[in-house]
């Protein structure tokens, strides 16, 4: 299959802030593409450009061969968007929300109605179909919102942080939905702050930082390249931490980073490092207050790529479109 989405040197400025600063990528039809980055990195702005809501200041983008600026109306017949907040009318029932979206997507009334009930059923909202959406839980709202994005059977679906604020169960359900969508031939572009989400769903991932793509690859390759298992050890006193850092670097052969009383070792060979860490600490009579092992997070990828933590990279407040809304 061909290219479903193409972005070429996209630029978008808000005042003096370069929200998107020369971003290019291709998304093959029938695949999931993940835009991974912290708040303020430009993910939402890219989604808005591709969904014809914002005009780029420079560069161009195509969805299924249609230019998102010059052929915006044609593009709108082909896409579905679930934005960063649940875009549903709280006073309408679930069924009414979906029917309204269907009618505004130019579906005939009967078709919009059938489609609404089909999606309510599929997203396990049938029982709440005739209740105003304001009575829905957060997870139900999110499901309704994603359902609304699928009303017109879009070939290309944009999901902007679809699982932010969802509990584990709802998140896993939504992941399954996304996989089904793709199995049926749709192309999905999703944004996320979670490396795990990108890893589970995306065929390709572009890591973003302050408006630029700083790495782009298959998630497995990204992880192999950057994402190591992280062992974190917290100690009582800084003096003790300094001594432990030296001991651990020697014992494990892995660089030990220290921030105050917190030590961090990152290695592709996590199990061995963990065992050696425990043995070395024990042999030297050092008792850590906490000891944790975790899979790499976006933060770790960022640290590896930019040498900065995500919290110092993003400029949340300066960007009008990427404020955290939940």
């Amino acid at each position: 299959m061909g290219t479903a989405i193409r972005a070429e040197e996209l630029v978008k400025r808000f005042g003096s802030v370069h929200a998107v600063d020369g971003v290019s990528f291709d998304v093959a039809a029938g695949t999931v593409f993940g835009l991974l980055g912290p708040n303020g990195s430009g993910k939402t702005t890219i989604v808005r450009i591709l969904a014809t809501i914002l005009h780029p200041d420079a560069g161009r983008a195509e969805v299924l061969g249609r230019d998102v600026v010059r052929q915006a109306d044609e593009v709108r017949y082909l896409i579905g968007l679930a934005g960063q907040f649940a875009a549903i009318d709280p006073n309408l029932t679930g069924a009414e929300n979906l029917r309204l979206t269907g009618r505004l997507a130019q579906l005939r009334g009967r078709v919009a109605r059938e489609r609404a009930y089909e999606l309510l059923d599929r997203f396990q909202l049938s029982e709440a179909a005739d209740r105003p959406a304001r009575t829905y839980s957060g997870g139900m709202r999110r499901r309704l919102d994603v359902a609304a994005a699928l009303v017109q059977r879009p070939a290309v679906v944009f999901l902007d942080e679809p699982t932010t604020g969802l509990d584990l169960h709802s998140r896993n359900e939504l992941w399954d939905m996304i996989r089904e969508l793709v199995a049926e031939g749709a192309t999905v572009l999703l944004t996320t702050q979670y490396l795990e989400e990108a890893d589970r769903l995306a065929d390709r991932v572009a890591v973003m930082s302050v408006g630029r793509v700083i790495a782009s690859d298959a998630p497995a390759a990204l992880k192999a390249q950057l994402g190591n298992t992280v062992v974190e050890i917290n100690l009582q006193h800084e003096v003790e931490a300094i001594r432990a850092a030296q001991l651990l670097t020697q014992a494990t052969g892995t660089r030990t980073d220290r921030e105050g009383t917190l030590l961090r070792l990152s290695s592709p060979d996590g199990t061995r490092v963990l065992l050696e860490t425990v043995r070395s600490l024990n042999d030297n009579g050092i008792a850590p207050t906490t000891l944790t092992v975790r899979e790499p997070s976006l933060d770790d990828v960022f640290l590896a790529l930019t040498g900065q933590r995500t919290t110092t990279v993003g400029t949340d407040d300066a960007l009008p479109v990427e404020r955290t809304r939940r």
Partner: protein, 271 residues
């Protein structure tokens, strides 16, 4: 059952593209009308406020307004003012509603759909118009209950109501623009008041303009609320109507010509 199935999409579409703005406005407007149905307090408070104004001005301030300046009962002077004032206050709803839609992300979804760019505004203002028909009828009833009588005839009263509805419709577009500009319901409401207060109170709605200081009279006599009230009043109590009505219609059309395109422009640009 499938989530997508891409190929069959085109056959499901409505065929008449030219009708799209009207069809979409009706769809979008039905959403706003359902809100009145689902949240009755919205409609109740919209109607209680003008009723209180009628009672307050009729019985509290009515005695103070000098009868030397008005050759007929004050209640007949007051009610045309109330009809117009009610639609002006009601129009703030468009401001708050669109600001809320912009903030909630609904406008973002709508703008990604292949719908008419004017439909959200067309629908909102249409729903406001329907509400104003209801409120205007209610106000005529309340007016009758407190002694308001028409001096001319039912056709003239209906013409007066049409004028009120046209003015209310134009104001809906003005306040829709304000709502889209601010993008925050609280700010939208706060921004609406400084526009509304001088228009409603420095007008001929409740007291004759001739009772005001000279410097204020120039503004009070020619601003749109006064002009519309004068035309509505002429249609209710009699007197020369042609010039008054022509001026009032001109104001409404003028406001529509400016704020219609402006509101659509802000809709296209809102994020």
């Amino acid at each position: 059952m499938t989530l997508t199935a891409i190929t069959d999409a085109p056959v499901l579409r409505h065929p008449y593209r030219l009708l799209r703005p009207f069809r979409d406005s009706l769809s979008a407007g039905s959403r706003n009308l359902i809100a009145y149905w689902r949240v009755p307090s919205l409609l109740i408070f919209t109607t209680i406020q003008p009723v209180i104004f009628v009672l307050m001005f009729r019985y509290v301030f009515g005695g103070v307004v000098s009868l030397r300046l008005i050759p007929y009962p004050y209640v007949d002077f007051l009610m045309p003012g109330i009809f117009v004032q009610t639609t002006v206050f009601g129009a703030i709803g468009a401001s708050i509603g669109l600001a809320t839609d912009r903030q909630s992300g609904l406008l973002e979804r709508f703008r990604s759909l292949p719908m008419s760019r004017s439909a959200v505004l067309g629908g909102r203002t249409l729903a406001d118009l329907v509400r104003n028909v209801f409120v205007a009828a209610l106000m005529v009833g309340v007016g009758y209950a407190v002694g308001f009588r028409i001096h001319v005839g039912v056709p003239a009263l209906l013409a007066a109501m049409l004028l009120v509805l046209l003015f209310g419709y134009a104001l809906s577009w003005l306040f829709a623009t304000v709502g889209l500009m601010t993008g925050n319901p609280e700010t939208a409401e706060a921004a609406a008041f400084p526009i509304i207060a001088p228009l409603v109170f420095a007008s001929s709605a409740f007291v004759p303009v001739s009772s005001m200081p000279g410097w204020l009279q120039a503004f009070a006599a020619h601003q749109p609320v006064s002009v519309t009230v004068s035309a509505v009043r002429a249609l209710c109590v009699g007197g020369p109507t042609a010039t008054n009505v022509a001026e009032a219609v001109a104001w409404s059309i003028g406001l529509l010509a400016v704020f219609g395109p402006l509101a659509v422009l802000y809709y296209r640009r809102s994020t």
